[in-house]
Symmetry: C2
């Protein structure tokens, strides 16, 4: 019996403001022999995502809060090392939501087999080929109703969802794509690697002024990963009929006091604007549509990506904190076991 | 030749903050004999509406700003006193957008004949049977996508659009209708005359607390005429999937400094909310649908209304200012000439 001990990260206190290591506990769990129908999976990558911060709080939300004293859930991908299932054999690569642990053992129904493609790191199924990429796709299409020719502004554009959204906007025919990011290095990456027409470092001045300069003819679509001053700046420059997909508000996730919102909400009326918040879980019906588009684009070599990889499940908390501080470019993942290629 | 002098109100300075009488000038214009195709109309009622404040500023908007030194435009209704038109005879009742004047003379193409129904004051075509009622209808249906059973919250509910919207929500099957208004008298009217299930005086405490108490099971739809703290309060109590139609933000129309927006915009993401601003001009395609519904409801005696009538075109500026201060219940109109019945 291999992989009989699972190292798992549990949330043991609800953070106030920034989470700290003391809000989490690492446990080692001895796994029982498989029951009929179960599989045991050695995870290769575990996803850390901004939305997880929200689930650490007890507030009303679409997703349930993480339970205290239970292992953190979330996307992960690994390989089946033992199977008592008729549907998922040993050696399969499977995607699941059991999250922050190096070994997981559950009924096979909780896993989905994904194809193992030559030269494609499995971590991409947590990123551009998975929920992250789909978040960009759904936000632009279903939520913001992007049309060919639109000027699209994406905040936090060098992050996991942002790098996906920018490329998808271009592939769907956006007229002009503008991005913001938190460092000059990331800004350079946006225009040089990801095909943005314009980009700015949101730490270099008031976002209101930076965006107005980058979008002299206004914007039609705003894909927001940041919130706060970015939304206010977008409301200033929206063209009539503009639409925003509010995906993340990472700027406010770890503040203990609520910050004031945009001072120009009245523009929504005079310009006939739509703002719509979303989480991917309500739009999983679009998975097949996304997969068809993204598989085509990826196979055709039209998708660039970056990943920021942190080694060791014990470092998952640090990875999450660094991601929320903006240390990552592209998707942040935790590598638990097998080595993989990490560039695109 | 009758009615050969027209008294007109012109905007002659762009107000900063609250408009004052000195921003307007009253002029008397001698009318030339009719040219072929023209008609001369003695207005009976001229509409004063919150959106007019926005058009007094020079800012980017769907509607053009009012031109300085030209007569204020807007809805009005009157009777044809002279006609050189083959399509609109003397005696017809006509609706038009030539606005703040007691006599208007223009090509017949700028007017629309409306039916004169026994016992129906012509002023209602500026209110519940006209643009005001249609604004309530469009906001609830097209913009907020109201469904039967929804809990609907309407701010500024005793105003012209609010009294229309509340009744339309009920007639379209709302489960519970909640309103806010600016005095105890108006609040009483909402529950006693307009069929609201609950109402509160927004000057009696923090709107956030008042709305939470009035909507213990949350709200699904918010029809906003006020803006500011009302939107923030709504974002607190929205159920997942909630939708807002942002119609007016009268709280901020006459402030010279921009006020901070809602501190809880992040709820839009976690609860999957939609906010959409609108002005009626972009949705005139729904006029036939609205007229069919409203005519049926009105004929069946299902529509109550109030009007606040100010006499004399010379008092139109005062009427507008009083309306923005909340002195009206229901639609505010200026009566220029003939006496009418004013209750419903």
């Amino acid at each position: 019996m291999t992989h009989s001990v699972s190292t798992q990260i549990q949330l043991t206190a609800r953070p106030v403001g920034w989470p700290t290591a003391s809000d989490f506990t690492t446990v080692k769990v001895d796994l029982a022999p498989l029951s009929p129908g179960q599989i045991r999976v050695a995870n290769e990558f575990v996803s850390v995502d901004p939305y997880m911060r929200g689930r650490m709080s007890a507030a009303k939300s679409y997703s349930e809060p993480f339970a205290l004293g239970e292992t953190m859930t979330g996307g992960a991908i690994g390989r089946v090392v033992e199977s008592a299932s008729e549907t998922i054999p040993v050696g399969s690569v499977v995607l699941h939501q059991f999250g922050w642990r190096d070994v997981v053992q559950e009924d096979a129904a909780g896993f989905r087999i994904v194809p193992e493609l030559p030269g494609v790191p499995l971590s991409l199924y947590l990123g551009i080929l998975g929920m992250t990429g789909m978040t960009g796709y759904v936000g632009l299409t279903e939520i913001a109703n992007m049309k060919a020719g639109d000027t699209v502004f994406i905040s936090g554009a060098a992050g996991a969802v942002g790098t996906a959204a920018g490329q998808i906007a271009r592939l769907l025919g956006a007229g002009r794509v503008i991005g913001s990011a938190g460092s000059d290095e990331k800004v350079a990456l946006l225009t040089e690697k990801y095909g943005y027409d314009a980009a700015f470092n949101y730490k270099s001045g008031p976002v209101r002024e930076l965006l107005a300069a980058a979008a002299p003819e206004g914007i039609d679509v705003f894909f927001d990963n940041v919130g706060g001053d970015h939304l206010e700046a977008a409301l200033d420059v929206f063209n009539p009929g503009g639409r925003a997909a509010l995906c993340g508000a990472i700027a406010g996730y770890n503040t203990t006091e609520r910050k004031a919102g945009p001072d120009n909400m009245v523009n929504m009326i005079t310009r006939g604007l739509k703002l719509r918040g979303f989480t991917l879980g309500s739009h999983l019906n679009l998975a097949a549509e996304f997969n068809e588009h993204m598989t085509g684009w990826f196979t055709d070599g039209k998708i660039a990506y970056d990943e920021t990889i942190v080694d060791g499940i014990d470092n998952a908390v640090d990875a999450l904190l660094e991601m929320m501080r903006g240390a990552n470019t592209g998707k942040m993942v935790v590598r638990t076991a097998l080595p993989v290629v990490a560039n695109g």
